[in-house]
């Protein structure tokens, strides 16, 4: 078998991402059909199906596979995480929050549907995420699904995503927001929504407690990595390249890594996080780990 192993072609990350993102997009389209009242469902679909690289759902599917699960059992959880990510973007873009008019190169949800519908569409996506995991997860013992729902709810509420957003709002225009505040924001705001899909995928795929925790540590590294790279790109790229308003963080006087550490030190920090992330995968079967390894490298080296 060794000989056969060596003959295996190297892992084709691009093909993997395209194939997985396509199945995610198809499943999202089916999971949220147009119903009455039509406008809310159109608003939900507008932001949910607006493209995006589907990094979060693919992480969920890959984490399920690395522990030996079939990715289909993690698909509803993968979609749920994308629904919640979308909801947080819709609410984050509102005039009372970041007041953004452009997202992924398109007018933001409230620009198209109004603030009232944008709030409701976000709330509906949040609720549906939980309903979908609870109802649609196939062939997994209920105890695992319950555990996954507990993890997801914790990561997006006042101990997770929302805490990050609150501290983020507070830190705007504040002169004394230091590295500690910055890390709190990103560990909660960004990392929580990368940790959740990885942990959910591992739980639903049948990973041991030890594997779940190892993958949680991996996810925390790439979550922070994601944000450091985002901050660097915000300074170095144009709006067109990013598909969103560049330099927004500077204008809003937000605390960022380049502002606190400088660009060079921020880059060094990114390299360190990337290395640490990969170390957490070293105990897994290298073939099964290939997608997560490639995802970590992709997050480190992405251009938008």
């Amino acid at each position: 078998t060794d000989v056969l192993e060596e003959k295996k072609p190297p892992f084709d990350f691009k093909a993997y991402m395209i194939q997985k993102a396509e199945s995610v997009n198809r499943a999202l389209d089916e999971a949220v059909p147009i119903r009455e009242p039509v406008t809310i469902h159109e608003a939900m679909r507008y932001s949910l199906l607006a493209g995006g690289k589907r990094v979060r759902p693919v992480l969920c599917l890959s984490a399920c596979e690395i522990v030996g699960g079939d990715y289909s059992v993690a698909m509803p959880a993968a979609l749920a995480v994308e629904m919640i990510h979308t909801m947080s973007l819709i609410h984050d873009d509102l005039p009372c929050m970041d007041n953004d008019s452009l997202r992924r190169g398109k007018p933001t949800n409230h620009k198209v549907f109004g603030e009232d519908v944008a709030v409701l569409a976000g709330d509906a996506l949040l609720a549906f995420a939980f309903e979908h995991i609870a109802v649609a997860t196939p062939g997994v013992p209920p105890s695992r699904v319950v555990r996954a729902i507990g993890e997801l709810s914790k990561s997006i509420g006042s101990e997770g995503l929302v805490a990050g957003q609150v501290v983020d709002i507070d830190s705007e225009g504040s002169d004394n927001a230091g590295l500690e505040t910055l890390e709190f924001i990103h560990e909660h705001k960004t990392a929580a929504l990368l940790e959740a899909p990885v942990v959910l995928g591992a739980i639903l795929g049948g990973g041991t407690d030890e594997q779940v925790e190892e993958l949680r540590s991996f996810a925390r590294c790439i979550g922070l990595l994601f944000q450091v790279v985002d901050d660097i790109l915000d300074v170095t790229k144009s709006s067109q390249e990013l598909g969103k308003t560049a330099g927004k963080d500077l204008v809003a006087d937000k605390v960022t890594y380049p502002k606190l550490l400088g660009i060079e030190k921020s880059r060094e920090f990114a390299v360190k996080l990337n290395k640490e992330a990969l170390e957490h995968l070293s105990g897994f079967d290298p073939h099964k780990a290939a997608p997560l390894i490639a995802l970590a490298n992709y997050i480190a080296h992405r251009q938008n």
Partner: protein, 317 residues
């Protein structure tokens, strides 16, 4: 439909709903207080607590959830976490409904609404945090020796569905949009869904069978709308029919009374009461006296024979 038996009616009259209710409110208030401790960043917890722990809240959804659970001999300890979650997601919906670009209500239950105190941004986030906290609370607090995990999943799905795009969010959307003949739909969605969900969850937690759950569904929906219709009638009477905006800032066109007048609203109330009682008649044959709390809920909705909590606040199913 056959009327409920005389014996049940008298038992229902003797049953001390006020005692049952106030005892449960005390328990639920304490559990909610414990469920939302203040941590960093404190302001979001203060904002969440402000709406969930509002004084004088009647806790109708959690009390109905517990009563439905006890109908089947379920332990109320099995129902408490879900009962608390119902209040959390309900509070989240109300916080968002009150926002300036929604109903634009500066007050709720006679107190400033959440965004009036904490700002629009915190109010949006408090709602966003209370929805998942409800689910988290069910998962972490439901005793696994009393409720199988498959049932916990059904409860979570039920609550998520009730607040979602075809439930309460749909009701709020159509309320904002207005339009002809929308009042029934809006009332069903905004008030019926919560009553329905509360009763169904109680039954699910006590391992009620599917037929029983469907019966609770019809019962809860009828009672939820019934409370609102009676509230509208009482309000109309206290206003002596003067053209006015209600305490909740609701315009006349958005209530049964405003659209159809008191006479028709009274007829609707009677139909809803009979509908709810008819569902309970089936339970009485099988479960006897344990159906009494659910009967007295219906009678109370119509009679309002005593006040619970802050008498100035509405029922808000």
């Amino acid at each position: 439909s056959p009327p409920p038996s005389i014996s049940t009616r008298s038992r229902s009259a003797q049953f001390d709903l006020k005692e049952y209710w106030t005892t449960l409110i005390t328990d639920i208030d304490r559990k909610l207080d414990e469920a939302i401790p203040v941590k960093y960043p404190e302001q979001i917890y203060h904002s969440m607590r402000y709406s969930v722990l509002a004084k004088g809240a009647k806790r109708a959804p959690p009390v109905m959830c517990v009563a439905a659970c006890e109908l089947f001999g379920g332990d109320r300890l099995a129902a408490f976490p879900t009962a608390c979650a119902l209040e959390m997601v309900h509070a989240a919906s109300l916080i968002h409904d009150d926002l300036p670009y929604m109903d634009d209500d500066p007050s709720r239950r006679g107190k400033p609404s959440n965004h009036t105190i904490y700002g629009v941004d915190m109010a949006v986030l408090a709602g966003d945090a209370l929805f998942p906290l409800g689910f988290q609370h069910i998962v972490s607090h439901t005793p696994s020796n009393l409720v199988p995990e498959a049932r916990v999943l059904r409860v979570i799905a039920e609550i998520a569905h009730a607040v979602g795009s075809t439930g309460m969010a749909a009701g709020q959307f159509l309320d904002l949009e207005g339009g002809p003949n929308s009042v029934e739909f809006v009332q069903e969605k905004k008030f019926g869904e919560m009553g329905e969900c509360s009763a169904v969850c109680g039954g699910l937690l006590a391992s009620a069978n599917d037929e029983e759950v469907e019966s609770l569904r019809r019962y809860g929906r009828a009672v939820g709308v019934l409370y609102q219709v009676v509230d509208d009638i009482l309000e109309e009477k206290s206003n002596n029919g003067q053209e006015t905006v209600s305490k909740e800032g609701k315009k006349k066109g958005k209530s049964y009374v405003g659209v159809y007048g008191v006479e028709k609203a009274l007829e609707v109330a009677k139909e809803l009461r009979d509908k709810a009682k008819k569902e309970l008649d089936g339970f009485e044959k099988k479960y006897g006296d344990s159906v009494v709390p659910l009967y007295s809920f219906v009678d109370y909705a119509v009679d309002r024979g005593f006040s619970i909590g802050d008498s100035s606040s509405q029922w808000e199913f």
